[in-house]
Point group: C2
Chain length 306, copies 2
């Protein structure tokens, strides 16, 4: 594959940035990969495992002379970081991010991006329940969507180049409007995560059912929730604080529907339950057919002895 950027700076070295490092290397997409992280321990691990060509101690140092700067930090840290690196960005460079909400990131970052630097906010819809510099792997973005939300004044060439980078890492790239992104993600990601966190919290909190019972008998359905409820707490706190309106809207819809089903249970309306449960099967089929999940029973989980 072709080298697309001479120097890429990764700000933050968690799951997404470390996966990007592996995927860019595999594809020969970047001349040099420079990384940095706020925590000295993270930088140390990154050096130890040779994650980047260079790991530097400050973001200002990392972005110097970089053609692409990737903000891969929690949404709540974006504004301070943008202020810090703004003066050090190279004219003509592209700045992007990988945050799970986009309106808040645009508001936080755009004011600090100088004239002549392209800001193209992005969001790879890929992840696992693991975090940190050791959790990355080159295949993370394979066949997953990355959404870019450039504003209408952004030049075509930097958008096309960034698109090529994500495609080179295996991703399918779409562009959409900032607000629509935040609504779509409230449905497909933010609300499901909040619900999973809540269900796991309830189970943990009951006095009449012990934690060890919850754990032993989790294969009956509960364990599917625990994976996403084990995601990085800082990241998710910031998501909910920064996509408040859309998440609250979808949550409102969710509780409305839940109350309707709850009422059907209370009144013994089997027909309503049956119809509802039949309808939801179709979406699963759609997801499997679109290659966004596997049809192997139980997600193809390996069976493991304890």
């Amino acid at each position: 594959m072709t080298q697309l950027y001479d120097r890429v700076a990764l700000i933050g070295l968690g799951l997404i940035a470390s996966s990007m490092a592996h995927a860019m290397r595999r594809g020969g997409l970047a001349g040099e990969i420079v990384g940095t992280a706020r925590s000295a321990e993270t930088r140390e691990i990154a050096r130890e495992i040779g994650l980047c060509d260079r790991v530097v101690d400050t973001a200002a140092e990392a972005v110097a002379d970089a053609d692409l700067v990737v903000l891969a930090i929690p949404v709540g840290a974006m504004e301070d970081m943008a202020r810090e690196i703004g003066p050090h960005l190279k004219p003509g460079a592209t700045v992007t991010d990988v945050g799970s909400v986009k309106r808040a990131v645009v508001d936080a970052v755009a004011p600090h991006v100088p004239e002549g630097v392209h800001f193209i906010p992005g969001h790879p819809l890929a992840g696992t329940e693991h975090s940190g510099p050791r959790s990355g792997f080159a295949e993370l973005f394979e066949n997953r969507f990355t959404i870019l939300v450039p504003d209408g004044n952004t030049a075509m060439e930097p958008i096309e180049r960034l698109t090529a980078l994500w495609q080179g890492m295996g991703a399918l790239v779409e562009t959409m409007d900032v607000e629509h992104h935040d609504l779509v993600l409230a449905v497909t990601s933010h609300t499901p995560h909040l619900i999973a966190y809540t269900m796991v919290g309830v189970a943990d909190d009951l006095r009449r059912v012990t934690d060890s019972e919850v754990i032993k008998y989790s294969a009956a359905g509960f364990r599917d929730f625990t994976r996403i409820a084990a995601s990085d707490p800082t990241m998710w706190r910031d998501v909910f604080l920064n996509n408040k309106e859309a998440t609250l809207e979808i949550l409102g819809r969710f509780t409305e529907e839940l109350f309707a089903l709850q009422r059907a249970i209370r009144t013994g309306d089997g027909e309503q339950l049956f119809d509802y449960f039949t309808r939801t099967r179709a979406i699963r089929r759609g997801i499997v057919e679109a290659g966004q999940d596997t049809d192997v029973p139980n997600f193809g989980r390996p069976v493991k002895k304890p």
Copy 2:
């Protein structure tokens, strides 16, 4: 392994019964396996794939001279079936079931079990999102719990023999009280399923986000919910109609907690969110350590091109 029953009758030939047939054969646990199902199509498929030694057209025929009768039908169908087979049960035989709720099954079945036949209600905590006679596989029960809820008057020998059968199929066997079973399952299975069904229903129902967007971007979290929301609608209707009280109790707890988190989002209480999201990680670790789920990222889903 030792043969434990000379003749086993499987009433209903869905995922659980067909997996039992495979697992009993693998272990040499039954002399003869006789099966039946209400639907002629199901019986035909079972004959075609050689699922049982014999497939018969009526339940009365199936249970004749059987040492173990397994009711593997929806909970709502248990009472009629018990009435039908009651007069044909062999003295000394054991009747068990695999229903997901136990109080309702005991109330429906026990009155029809004649003196001298042992009734030991059971529930294998294993399943996949697939159903029907073709969906079974011998490894389904491997390292999964099966809960037996015999009443205090049941003789030890039939309990021990049934325990040995489940162990021979790979399961871990526990016994508990009927009411406690229904509460534990409301937490680990019934409420999670209802929530998953609701979330998938909401996504399907929105006008401003299209189905195709929900499907494309499902890897951001939503798809984890769709697996259990694709489970058999008849089975789940019956579960909710028959474990009403415990499910409504846990649902009440769930909405209470959800409202607290919703309020934290609305008021911007990041600390509360962070603390909640940190606490829920521990349960996931417990489940993985207990061998009830895999630690491989994304459940070890195979990456597949569409």
